[in-house]
């Protein structure tokens, strides 16, 4: 199945929770925020929110800036 991840097409083998998606991407869940289909999801729901076919996911973190 395909999702849009940070603006790019991304292939996933099956629907999975946000926490599983982060693990698959090797991203530390403590340092990111996630937007799921344009809604910011709370950290405590990373375990229950499920990424489905066609979903739009944005994962952001802190980077250098002024």
């Amino acid at each position: 199945m395909q999702i849009t991840l940070n603006g790019e097409r991304f292939e996933l083998e099956r629907p999975m929770t946000m926490l599983d998606l982060l693990a698959r991407l090797d991203i530390d869940p403590r340092r990111v925020a996630i937007e799921h289909n344009l809604e910011i999801i709370r950290r405590r729901t990373f375990e229950s929110a499920v990424v489905q076919e066609g979903d739009r996911v944005e994962i952001v973190n802190a980077v250098g800036g002024g």
């Binding site: 940070n6 991407l25 925020a33 910011i40 994962i59 952001v60 973190n61 800036g65 002024g66």
Partner: protein
């Protein structure tokens, strides 16, 4: 005697706030932060790099026990975009303070006052401590304060320009108008620019490129630390008035042979 530097009830040791962008490495950034003495640094909120996970996290190089994080909304052009970015930053664990940027023009990166005031109001309502980056316009600053801003951050000159304080008198007027702290944000090129900002009465100075882009960033960070302290002390000391002609410093009586 100086009063403490307090924003929204939080006291900072240093009146210098520095950025985390444009450094040649995270290590140089950390050394520059140490040399600057700053206890607040700005960060941007951006998409995680999915394809290259090898890069270390910026936050691994910031001692959050000692340094307070101020996420920004850099690059946002509308109130909605900035509000979205601020909320993402908060959810990413960066806290509920935000350096609010609303860019109105790509070439100058000058702020869009209207969007800035709108976003300030909305974010304050949502519980954020909002520090808007604004034009050096006393009226805009007054409106931002009325909208609930916890400080106003007028620019000295365009971001990254290094031109120094372009409208010194406006900074002075803004200081006089404002009940919240005034932080000169952007435009500093070298130490004297930072000192001047403080001499004009600014409560703090925020800079990124002046340090990160310097030939020797760590040394420049140290010079900025001294400049901000020197400028602040000079402001508090009451400078002498400017006069057209000389006034001798040594006694005019008792000259030998007269």
């Amino acid at each position: 005697m100086d009063t403490p530097f307090v924003i929204a009830g939080r006291t900072f040791r240093s009146r210098l706030i520095v950025g985390t962008g444009k450094y040649s490495s995270h290590t140089v950034m950390r050394q520059a932060h140490e040399a600057s003495g700053a206890d607040m640094v700005t960060v941007a909120v951006r998409r995680v790099n999915i394809s290259d996970r090898s890069r270390e996290s910026l936050l691994d190089y910031i001692d959050e026990k000692r340094i307070f994080l101020l996420p920004n909304t850099a690059g946002c052009y509308t109130a909605d975009e900035a509000i979205r970015t601020a909320k993402l930053g908060r959810e990413a664990g960066l806290g509920d303070w935000v350096k609010l940027e609303e860019i109105g023009d790509e070439r100058t990166l000058f702020p869009d006052n209207e969007a800035l005031i709108e976003a300030t109001r909305a974010l304050v309502k949502d519980g954020f401590v909002v520090l808007p980056y604004t034009n050096d316009d006393p009226i805009a600053c007054r409106k931002l304060e009325e909208a609930g801003a916890s400080a106003v951050m007028p620019l000295g000159a365009p971001i990254g320009s290094g031109l120094g304080i372009q409208n010194a008198n406006n900074i002075r007027i803004i200081r006089e108008f404002s009940k919240v702290p005034v932080i000169v944000d952007a435009g500093v090129g070298t130490a004297s620019d930072a000192a001047l900002a403080m001499e004009l009465g600014a409560d703090g100075v925020l800079m990124n490129t002046a340090i990160a882009g310097a030939g020797q960033p760590v040394q420049m960070a140290e010079s900025m630390r001294h400049a901000v302290i020197a400028g602040r002390l000079a402001y508090l000391s009451g400078r002498i008035p400017r006069k057209m002609y000389a006034t001798a410093s040594s006694p005019v009586e008792g000259m030998v042979g007269r």
